[in-house]
């Protein structure tokens, strides 16, 4: 039988199974911890740090940190939410996010996080980096201007689709998402129904010819902050 682990999340007693991450145990208890790179169908990656919580006072990523008996986890505190807000600010300024015409707007997890945290303008200067768009595939766009390097596509392609379409190349500010062909996406075995195509939290990987189908006012996060409803609301 699995061992029950008991810990405190923002002062509330939570019980989980041994081996679960803090995020999994919190989700089961109906407590939302903000996240971006984590996805319920993929191996946690621990890269975006939006899910940062304080475990006995030390910052840890809730999606990768296992639960343990008696730990004190802080999540919805001003201090932790400020860390998260700063990361979201950085993600906005280090890419090129023109929400006003982005097909993902209204259903974008990055934008929804910014809304949830009430961000009206990022505190860092805009970088306006040069990033390219790969429109070579007949059914799929890859717009690196909006990529937040969450690695969901990389993991989904390997773990779920059994392919290897996406991969990271470069390091630090040079890091970017690459595809497994010199001809761009069209040279890969990517298909529009692949999991890798639907898991992108932002408008970096989009299906062609379906944009703006949902009217403003009926999109995922038009009325409800991300994390309000059940976990079902994260990308397919």
């Amino acid at each position: 039988m699995e061992k029950v682990v008991t810990f405190l999340l923002d002062g509330e007693v939570i019980q989980g199974q041994e081996g679960q991450s803090i995020m999994q145990a919190a989700d089961e208890a109906g407590k939302y911890i903000p996240r971006l790179c984590a996805h319920k169908d993929l191996t946690p990656h621990g890269s975006c740090r939006i899910c940062t919580v304080l475990v006995n006072g030390r910052p840890q990523s809730a999606c990768t940190q296992p639960i343990a008996d008696g730990i004190l986890v802080e999540s919805e505190t001003p201090k932790v939410n400020q860390l998260r807000t700063d990361i979201i600010d950085m993600l906005f300024v280090e890419g090129n996010h023109f929400c006003m015409f982005c097909e993902k707007s209204g259903s974008c997890e990055l934008q929804a996080l910014a809304y949830r945290f009430g961000i009206t303008a990022p505190k860092y200067p805009y970088q306006f980096p040069q990033r390219d768009v790969d429109a070579s595939h007949p059914d799929i766009f890859l717009d690196r201007n909006r990529c937040v390097l969450c690695g969901r596509c990389v993991r989904a392609s390997k773990e779920v689709d059994g392919k290897n379409v996406f991969q990271f190349v470069g390091r630090g500010v040079e890091k970017r998402i690459a595809v497994n062909s010199e001809q761009g996406l069209k040279g890969t075995d990517a298909e529009v129904m692949d999991k890798a195509i639907s898991v992108c939290p932002v408008g970096a990987i989009l299906k062609k010819r379906v944009g703006y189908a949902v009217p403003v006012g009926r999109r995922l996060y038009d009325h409800q902050p991300i994390g309000t409803a059940s976990e079902e609301e994260t990308t397919e």
């Binding site: 906005f92 090129n96 996010h97 023109f98 929400c99 006003m100 015409f101 982005c102 707007s105 209204g106 934008q111 910014a114 809304y115 949830r116 009430g118 961000i119 009206t120 303008a121 200067p125 805009y126 306006f128 980096p129 040069q130 990033r131 403003v216 009325h223 409800q224 902050p225």
Partner: protein, 181 residues
């Protein structure tokens, strides 16, 4: 006591944010009761003749004139508000920020497929404000006190914010009124 004064301007914007302000519908009459519009595109006043309580800035800075106007607004308004995505992050005009300025001008005035320009000259008259290397968000040029995002911000966002400012309350926008599109 005289009514507080407001000033508004459109820098590198499309006037959509001003349209959204007019979209507060009949509340515009209430607003006119609360404030005096000192300098705004509707009265086309060229310069400030009094200090204003609130300045609303639409659009970012794409040329030297925008910078000058923005600086004048900063010194003539107690509270300065960036209204709309262009003021906040450059918006559509900032799409040129990823292309060197020279290439932009070359494409717009010489190489573009629909350009007719036999001399191949790029306009360079002293009357034309010089373009900046990039389009800058207003808060990267002067200090901005509040931000109202949106393209344009919903009329209700503008209304809520103005009423709060004019009644000396903090602006706190509910979830529905912070939008980036």
């Amino acid at each position: 006591m005289s009514k507080p004064k407001i000033a508004t301007t459109s820098l590198a914007g499309c006037f959509g944010c001003h349209m959204s302000l007019l979209d507060i519908d009949e509340r515009i009459l209430e607003l006119a009761e609360l404030v005096e519009f000192h300098k705004w595109p509707i009265n086309d006043r060229k310069s400030f003749s009094a200090q204003c309580a609130v300045g609303l800035i639409e659009g970012g800075c794409c040329n030297e004139e925008n910078v000058e106007v923005l600086r004048t607004f900063r010194s003539s308004c107690d509270v300065l508000v960036s209204v709309g995505d262009c003021a906040i992050m450059g918006g559509i005009p900032a799409m040129r920020n990823m292309v060197p300025l020279e290439e932009c001008l070359q494409e717009a005035f010489v190489d573009g497929p629909t350009v007719h320009n036999p001399t191949g000259a790029i306009p360079n008259d002293v009357e034309i404000p010089l373009l900046l290397d990039k389009v800058y968000p207003c808060h990267e040029v002067v200090k901005i006190d509040y931000y109202l995002p949106g393209c344009p911000p919903p009329a209700d966002t503008l209304w809520e914010a103005l009423v709060a400012l004019l009644t000396n309350k903090p602006i706190s926008l509910p979830y529905n009124l912070i939008k980036y599109d």
